[in-house]
Symmetry: C2
Subunit: 106 residues, 2 copies
Amino acid sequence: MSQVATEQLLKSDSLLTDRVRLVIAVTLAGAKEPMDFRSLLDALNLTKGNLSSHMRKLEEAGIVHIQKEFIDRKPKTTYTLSNKGREELKAYLDTIENFVRAAENL
Amino acid sequence: MSQVATEQLLKSDSLLTDRVRLVIAVTLAGAKEPMDFRSLLDALNLTKGNLSSHMRKLEEAGIVHIQKEFIDRKPKTTYTLSNKGREELKAYLDTIENFVRAAENL
């Protein structure tokens, strides 16, 4: 087992080490356009409270951008992955991939 | 993004979804012989309390076997990954791998 791959995985302090947040980031990364709260809920099958707590953390960390606008006088909030979020996601996916590859060579 | 890969990752209720426990399992899987507490500590760079709490959970779930014996009249405790643990590890590594592969195809 590669010590480096293990240490990388254990040392990462990204918010994306939480698998729910990782899935949120991946879902946003794959979305063709900004997603609203309802679409995220449907895609992820989480409770509102759970999703909203994760989105707040991701926003505070600058991983997710929130856009608020009015459409037909109704407020609409949408989410996108920021550039920082995209980089952090890529880096963490690489970390997991290296780890899994090393683990499967056991 | 594959919905199946995402759901598999989110639905797993394995103790190995915790990355520290995942690394412990991988370390035991790669060990040529049973490991004692000290070697695990050295390999993983955790605190005693943290490692011992994870080992207890892994033992209770039947993922890790504990052997206690006396060597030169001193008690010695060693740990191995059980067959159940090995299967669960393999299954969870496959889950992560499928997820990462789907995520990288975005």
